[in-house]
């Protein structure tokens, strides 16, 4: 009796796995390879704004986009010119400040990558990625 239940259970698991594997193979090119950002590392526009002077804004977009427009007071720090831009940003950082990194929109990865480097290489704490990025900031500013 028990063996039958186990066998049936296994059969159900196999049957459930089949469409999942098929979907995985069929949509292999559409699988996101980027790991999502943990919620603790994300910050909303409203919350980041509420930090006021306690936050430093970092613009991870390419130079041209930063030159066009950016969050007032933000520093440009992208991976194209990381070695040149990091020393310009660091004198403005202090341990009690929160760092808010943003890129174009929710879908971009530049903010996540810059935030990771700030945490790993510069070993800064309190580094956050702005939810929705520049697009969301613009929406909230209207």
């Amino acid at each position: 009796m028990k063996l039958r239940a186990v066998r049936e259970g296994l059969l159900l698991v196999v049957l459930a796995c089949l469409p999942a594997i098929g979907e995985g193979i069929y949509f292999r090119d559409k699988i996101s390879w980027q790991s999502s950002i943990p919620a603790s590392e994300l910050v909303t526009v409203d919350r980041a704004r509420a930090w006021g002077d306690g936050a430093i804004w970092v613009d991870a977009r390419p130079d041209e986009e930063f030159a066009r427009d950016h969050v007032p007071g933000a520093f440009s720090l992208n991976e194209d010119h990381w070695n040149e831009l990091l020393p310009q940003f660091l004198p403005n950082w202090s341990p009690e400040k929160k760092v808010v990194v943003y890129c174009s929109a929710e879908s971009c990865n530049a903010a996540r990558d810059v935030a990771k480097r700030l945490r790993d290489e510069a070993q800064l704490k309190n580094v956050f990625v702005l939810q929705g990025g520049w697009e969301e900031w613009l929406k909230k500013s209207r």
Binding site: D29, E79, D80, H81, N83, L90, P91, S94, S107, A122
Partner: protein, 257 residues
């Protein structure tokens, strides 16, 4: 009646047969640029295996660091071609995944959008930890250590460390294994905020030794105004302000972190 059935069958057949289909040879390409490469280029080859022409509606890269080139706007049935994606490495390291979204006029929505993935593994030459050390204003003049390790793909035997600033003292000690060093840095004064960068140069590659930076900072006391004024709101300038003194690498040297 027979004619009607024939017309119906034929129209169904034509609808099925008259399809456009762009088949990609590879939709994911792995690239392994060398230490000295500035770009990584992926060639995404395709063929129209359908019976009607395919038109490209848009080709968009996921990041400003990747540019794309299509050879043609329309691909005839049976025709082959490629989309070239050029990823500018800049100061990036490690695995980089960039996507290119291709949209065609294929009436089948599942076929109309293709996502091409470029995976570039950029070799890391030196592992510098941490790449930034700081002392708070008024902090004790205690030395801080920076560990440097050459990765297995980067057989550097020696490093030189330079600084433009007289405010820090630095000492390089070889580590326990070959290709490992420790830099000990001590500020001479922490009474006021200032910053500089140490230039770390390797003896590899011989023809164009690499340069790396370690940022040193005595930070503002809590609540003090920022050391440098960031760009004014909506200002067109790209750089924040005058950076702290950074020793210049020799013209032939590559720069990486």
């Amino acid at each position: 009646m027979k004619t009607r059935i024939l017309t119906f069958t034929l129209s169904i057949f034509l609808c099925v047969a008259a399809r456009a289909e762009l088949k990609w040879e590879q939709s994911t390409i792995d690239l392994h640029p060398s230490v000295s490469d500035k770009t990584a280029v992926a060639h995404f080859k395709y063929q129209n295996t359908g019976t009607t022409p395919v038109h490209f509606k848009s080709v968009k890269a996921s990041c400003g660091c990747t540019t794309t080139q299509t050879q043609k706007e329309m691909v005839n049935p049976g025709e082959k071609g490629e989309i070239v994606a050029t990823f500018t490495i800049g100061d990036r390291t490690g695995q980089q995944i960039k996507t290119v979204t291709v949209q065609t006029d294929d009436p089948n929505p599942a076929q109309a959008t293709s996502i091409l993935t470029l995976k570039a593994t950029i070799p890391q030459s030196l592992d510098i930890k941490p790449a930034f050390v700081y002392w708070q204003s008024g902090e004790e003049l205690k030395p801080k250590k920076i560990s440097i390790k050459a990765t297995k793909d980067f057989p550097a035997k020696n490093i030189t460390v330079k600084s433009n600033s007289q405010n820090f003292e630095s000492k390089v000690e070889p580590g326990s294994a070959s290709g490992e060093w420790t830099i000990e840095v001590t500020p001479k004064d922490t009474s006021h905020p200032f910053g500089t960068a140490l230039l770390v140069q390797t003896d590899y590659p011989k023809e164009a030794p690499k340069s790396f930076y370690v940022n040193l900072q005595v930070t503002n006391p809590p609540g003090a105004p920022p050391a440098l004024k960031p760009n004014a709101p909506n200002a067109p300038a790209v750089k924040a302000a005058t950076p702290p003194a950074i020793p210049k690498a020799s013209p032939s040297a590559g720069v990486e972190r």
